[in-house]
Symmetry: C2
Subunit: 97 residues, 2 copies
Amino acid sequence: MMVLITYDVNTEDRHGRKRLRKVAELCVDYGQRVQNSVFECSLTPAEYVEIKEKLFEIIDKSTDSIRFYNLGKNWQHRVEKMGFDDTYDPDKDLLIF
Amino acid sequence: MMVLITYDVNTEDRHGRKRLRKVAELCVDYGQRVQNSVFECSLTPAEYVEIKEKLFEIIDKSTDSIRFYNLGKNWQHRVEKMGFDDTYDPDKDLLIF
């Protein structure tokens, strides 16, 4: 399933900036950064549970916000893009290293 | 339909900061701000076309990114929230002024 993860982390102090860095680093491990605080993550149900547990450990629940939007399997038809875009479709594009 | 709108506007110069302000002001007219650069907008198909046209006029297509995620009608089951949340469900909650 494709899960969109968006976040707002309160970066008023250095603890917040550290949390923000940790959240971003974690999301990079699970998906593609499509905007500064927006990741598209192609996840198994187990991975979805896993990333939620890890994020729950990182954030300050009283100030930080994370939202998960489950776009399902046929997610491509749900997305439209405008302007700058250097993203790829993980279900279609082939990466050659 | 519920459309999630997320954006990254390049704010390196004052023109960018002006564009960011305009994008945010426009999105406020169409939906609920759920994070700093994330709006949930309950739109008719006509409104969806309209906001896209307006955003297209505002942004710098070479540097700014806007993404639209059509969550459909039964969108509530697609959303999970973690941490701070002061949002409401426009299809359920009653606001009394």
